[in-house]
Symmetry: C2
Subunit: 232 residues, 2 copies
DNA sequence: CGGGATCCCAGCAGATACTG
DNA sequence: CAGTATCTGCTGGGATCCCG
């Protein structure tokens, strides 16, 4: 029988792949990092997965205690899937893989490749340069969706659908916003022609732009995997 | 055509999984991190892979320029597979995944799980605590194999079959050596009854033992971010 | 003998249709 | 909306065979 085909190796990597190594699983975790998601959201966010396979993966993730079902609160009385602490603990590994995969990523999406702003905003988390006392927030609105970036003392928090108040709001289409955040397009040009709007405390933008660590990933950092201790 | 089923997403993680997301691939990379390997070595190191699939994966890795064929030098005139720089660049991601998977790893191999000392020694790389001017080396001999750990200024280098001179040599079976390195067994006890032998500059051991970072991985970095909202 | 290729079959993945 | 049922084709596992 040999149920649930696994590697049967006493090795952390093999065990990780036993749990999250199958097709679609890590992409599912990636999308759940933005916050709780409903089944339909996930179907739409993962084109090609097929509804049966999504259900199977969610079941497996639930059994592995990486995901739990939660009831969404007031307006939408539906269930959603949310990462547990163990699931969120995968985030460093996802960032490491994404950083490596980014080496193969063209500047613009190839025709046929889907692009989602949420994926891009997640990638900013690993480029974040805190700076002293930044601690502000940015709301990003695009295609009927809302993202919230909280620039914390140490980490950048990115959520979707989380309507936290933000002093600065950016509105526009997905690609122009991404190009703006990573410095491949200038704010002035996009405001003029690209359909990007800033509302609120615009003077915050230059500091936020810096903190999002533009282009700092071309050079591999000397300490890629933070062994930081001694939290002052 | 839609050849070579991929995710078709403009996302670093998805691209990474397009390249190395299929079954056995990352385990193959892991084993190649110890140095060039011949086909037969890999077949033996990855029980269950099946010769055809190994050949296919190696071909794919070659096409992706993560692996190259090299000719082994003098004594054995055979070909081997070696990671390219791009392939080695996967190492941080493997360590991050392995660290996460290590949370699911029991203290001792479950019956039926294979254990390889090379996998364990690789895991030491992410626990390494350089200390000032350690810069020595340790040879590990077990079951007819030789590993060499070079304790560098910043990183620990681990290779198999690389006969660099080392002032200290440890000989014994795989599990006792692993237990010794991670502090779950004492040197005195293992020398007395466990079949572990130290030869050379034994006084180096205490410093090496410290640098291998015993038990320093229980504390993952504290990232609270538990702000649950909306349950009003 | 190392380094694969070939064949076969079980199980997984993909797409669509259907149901509470 | 949130899945389940079903069908089909493809991938992966295992054994055997081949070729230098």
């Amino acid at each position: 029988m040999q149920s649930r085909r696994g590697y049967h190796q006493h090795c952390g990597l093999a065990k990780a792949l036993d749990v999250v190594g199958e097709r679609w699983t890590l992409l599912l975790v990636r999308d759940l990092l933005l916050g709780p998601r409903r089944y339909g959201d996930l179907v739409e966010a993962l084109p090609g997965i097929g509804t049966n396979l999504l259900a199977k993966r969610l079941r497996e993730l639930e059994e592995a205690d990486l995901v739990t079902k939660v009831k969404l609160p007031a307006p939408v009385s539906a269930v959603a899937y949310e990462l547990t602490a163990e699931g969120r603990a995968l985030e460093p590994a996802l960032h490491a893989l994404a950083r490596w995969g980014g080496l193969f990523l063209p500047a613009k999406p190839k025709r046929g490749d889907r692009f989602d702003l949420g994926w891009y905003l997640l990638s900013l988390k690993r480029r974040y340069l805190p700076g002293e006392g930044v601690r502000t927030a940015l709301a990003v609105k695009t295609a009927g969706r809302v993202f919230c970036l909280v620039l914390g003392e140490r980490v950048l928090d990115v959520r979707e659908g989380d309507d936290a108040p933000a002093p600065l709001t950016i509105t526009g289409e997905m690609m122009p916003i991404a190009m703006l955040c990573n410095g491949r397009a200038s704010l002035a040009a996009l405001e003029r022609e690209g359909g990007v709007k800033l509302e609120g405390a615009r003077d915050l933008w230059s500091e936020i732009f810096r903190a999002l660590g533009n282009g700092s990933e071309t050079t591999t950092r000397p300490r890629p995997r933070g062994t930081r201790r001694g939290t002052s």
